[in-house]
């Protein structure tokens, strides 16, 4: 199934990716040929809905719901990784505009 330029722009928006016009064109072609290749899956007889998400059969792997403290060293490392900060706060552009 060929993929249209409009599809590409829609997906890029969903994935929050800025694409150049050349990239849109390239992806239109490349994604179409990859999707054509994988469409061979339709030939395989399968039972609808018969699958598991986990290959080794583990079920309900749970962890205690408890707060673990983060040591100071790690906290400083996380703060240092912020692209922009104000003191110990992460600085981002405003979500709402006037």
């Amino acid at each position: 199934m060929p993929i249209s330029r409009k599809d590409i722009q829609h997906i890029a928006n969903l994935a929050r990716l800025a694409l150049s016009p050349e990239e849109e064109e390239r992806f239109e072609n490349q994604l179409s040929s990859i999707l054509e290749y994988v469409s061979q899956l339709q030939e395989v007889d399968t039972v609808q809905g018969e699958y598991q998400y986990q290959v080794e059969g583990l079920k309900n792997s749970m962890d205690q719901d408890e707060v673990r403290v983060c040591d100071e060293d790690t906290r400083q490392g996380i703060l240092a990784a912020f692209p922009e900060r104000a003191g110990d706060l992460l600085k981002v552009k405003g979500v709402f505009h006037e």
């Binding site: 994935a15 990716l17 994604l31 999707l35 290749y37 994988v38 061979q40 986990q54 290959v55 405003g94």
Partner: protein, 496 residues
Amino acid sequence: MSNTLSALSIREFREGLIKKEFSCKDVIDATYDRIHAIENDVHAFLTLTEESARAHANEVDKKIAHGADLAPLEGVPVALKDNMMTKGIRTTAGSKILDAYTAVYDAGVVQRLKKQGSILVGKTNLDEFAMGSSTENSAYGPTKNPHDLSRVPGGSSGGSAAAVASDECIFALGSDTGGSIRLPASLCGIVGLKPTYGSVSRHGLIAMASSLDQIGPMTRCVEDASMVFDAIKGPDPFDSSSACAQTKPVTPYLNASIKGLRIGVPEEYFIDGMDADVEREVRTAISHLKSLGATVIPINLPLSQYALSVYYVLQPAEVSANISRFDGIRYGYRTKDAKDLAEVYTHSRGGGLGQEVRRRIMLGTYVLAAGYYDAYYKKAQEVRSSVRRDFYNAFRLCDCIVSPASPVLPFLLGEKSADPLTMYLVDIFTVSANIAGIPGLVVPCGFVERQGHALPVGMQFLGRHFDEQTILRVGHQYEKSTEWHKRKPAISSVNT
């Protein structure tokens, strides 16, 4: 002398250290001499940790001087693929978006190696976020194959494979989502093990496709792979998919005979269009297994031809979810010229992520989008279950499976980068193991001459879930009776 010390096996290293034939410092010196002599040509590393490695070696030597016991991997120089978190050390995943990122914690495998006292030599090059089969997708330039510098080392763990092949470390860790340990192992003439999904913790492995990713050893002999596997496997409370199924060491079983062992050969793995010389070398190796007493039987894996399609639906789907965390907000690259929050996302991702990563995000977002989900994602999940059943049925007839590791020899840099689908096809023999979650081991099984260079060929053994023991044993027995793993790449003739 210095050349040979970084080329030791783990066992040789340990014995020499205990007998005081050399010090740990000698080995680390030799390792960095080697790295500095050839890195300009090979480019296996993105970051070197020379200072801490030398300090660590001195501590090991002090320990020996005091007569203290050494852990099995103590003092062994290791290289880690740069998608594993190493506290306080730059961790890039081969991406510009993490160019200036320093990890704030150690991955589960790194914690285990530290506990053993292994010495980190550096972080190795990879295709960006492990997406690729040649290491050409690294934002920091490709790694070269030590057997012929005009060719790719395979990918995505190409840096780890090249470092091991050219004696820049004693062992390395790689990660394998669709063949990223086994393909470069094959193309660089070394041993690579992708363990059963769930045997080794993925905590702190920068996620590509979480239902497929698995960390494993890359080494110069099967015994080393087995020893490293024993050191890193086991459950981890920080990885809910890690399993308790396997805690017994496998190394003690390597020397058991393979007489009477049933080895299945799937004819579906000898496809039209594969390199004829590769096929010949692998078939010769299979005959050799017979001469070791194994029973070789033909088997069928009828769904093999669909495994790559399953992979190229599920893997990008998981990629699109995993890579969404790289949005320029909490860490990594953030664009300077965004006029609002939406542009921070789109421009940071647009500017920080490379072509292949973007392509897979697009593909994954598409197959998960409303209207396509059933036709692509759900269908692929159903076929995935059938592929798994295929193996289940085959393992009733045989104890392990043997196949080629790659349909091609190491290819030229740039040869396959124009068309993504051509590059994807290189993984055709390796993806099934990830789809089914079973273990796969690659060992060198021959060499083929191309334009004056001897290029390695690898053979793959596939085993039942959590039965690494059998494939390691077959690999070890094969290796013991052949000389392929002793062949050094062309780069080895460079003087240190």
